[in-house]
Amino acid sequence: MAERPAPLSALTDQEVVLLARGGQERAYRELVRRYERPIFSLLYRMVRDRELAEDLSQDTFVKALNAIESYKPEYKFSSWLFKIANNAAIDHLRRRELDTLSLEGSPHAVTPDAVEATALQIGDRGENALDIVEAKELGGEIERAIALLRPEYRACILLRHVDGRAYEEIAEMLDLPLGTVKTYIHRARNELRRSLAHLKE
């Protein structure tokens, strides 16, 4: 009598990685499902272009999953993945000067549907229409303020306060000294505090 395999959602990242290394495609898919939103969100906020963020997210997962055998289980899988994603974003930003954040959709979108599909989507958490408009406006203001930060400040503050990573983990991911990470995060908070001061009322 064959036993029912445990649902992948109940396994730790390390256990899912072991299954992936054993050649199980469903384990690969589980890893993508777990991290597609956090990775895409980080990259979207870093590069400020939806299509580009999606390309970089795909590259991140493809690079990580094709090198799954070289992943060292003593490190957190998520740290490894975020490090690859951040490197992809930083490499891109170094190569190219970016235009400003578009809340109305990607500059590459040419049809109304594409504009709609690529517009910045701020979460709907069940509020009424007025709340949603206010949340979108507030979210838009915050996204705009984040977009104005220097890329290295942006990466640090997003990892710390949006993804909830520890300082030590961020330092390891970004290959920066711990003190530098703390300073960047403090400066980023300072700049956000100043640029969002008008929202406090």
């Binding site: 992936a20 898919r29 597609e36 999606e54 795909q58 915050i142 306060h161 969002l196």
Partner: protein
């Protein structure tokens, strides 16, 4: 103004206050100092806003697009893994080549020596066979003597005299063995029960 505020609290102290886990002396200072109080309330608001930012969602079909570019690992046999590791770096390749030369050299040397010393090998073989056979006989004889000297030997021998009794004993022993195997299997089986929050 900003500089004087920074002189009040270090970066680590600001983090402690934001995390809500800070000593009483720091709390007293923050509550009594308008600059620090304003700084902390502003930072707290920023942290709260950042924490409330929603996750962005990639376009539908993202997972399939990723998987179309991913090469799923094919599990290797132990031999294939060994070969892969041996060929991975120049050092491992050199070590593997050295080991292979040693093994093949030893093998070739053995064959050449054997071909030139057949009579020695035959003599060694006969002596070894004789010694092993003698040792085997001593062991069998010793075991048989020990068995016959056991107090329960007579009763066991009586059981074997009747085919019906022999069959009964064999049946009881087989049943006990099967029950034991079944019990062991149940004890070592992984529970297949549902997981908490599995439906979420």
């Amino acid at each position: 103004m900003e500089r004087s505020v920074l002189q009040h609290l270090t970066l680590d102290e600001i983090d402690l206050v934001l995390e809500g886990n800070y000593p009483e002396a720091l709390r007293t200072h923050v509550n009594g100092c308008p600059d620090c109080s304003s700084l902390i309330s502003g930072e707290r608001l920023v942290v709260q806003w950042l924490g409330a930012l929603p996750l962005h969602v990639p376009a539908a079909g993202f997972e399939d697009r990723v998987m179309a570019r991913v090469q799923v690992v094919t599990p290797r046999s132990a031999l294939a893994t060994l070969r892969h590791r041996a060929l991975a770096t120049p050092t491992s390749r050199a070590l593997a080549a050295g080991a292979m030369v040693s093994v093949l050299g030893s093998l070739a040397g053995s064959i050449v020596w054997s071909l030139g010393h057949r009579e020695v090998l035959a003599s060694l073989g006969m002596t070894a066979f004789h010694n092993v056979a003698e040792l085997g006989w001593v062991v069998v004889h010793g075991l048989a003597t020990t068995l016959v000297e056991q107090p329960w030997y007579g009763s066991a021998r009586a059981l074997a005299d009747s085919p019906a009794r022999l069959a009964t004993v064999a049946g009881v022993l087989t049943t006990a063995w099967a029950a034991g195997m079944l019990l062991m299997r149940r004890l070592i089986a992984i529970p297949a029960g549902s997981v908490a929050h599995e439906h979420i």
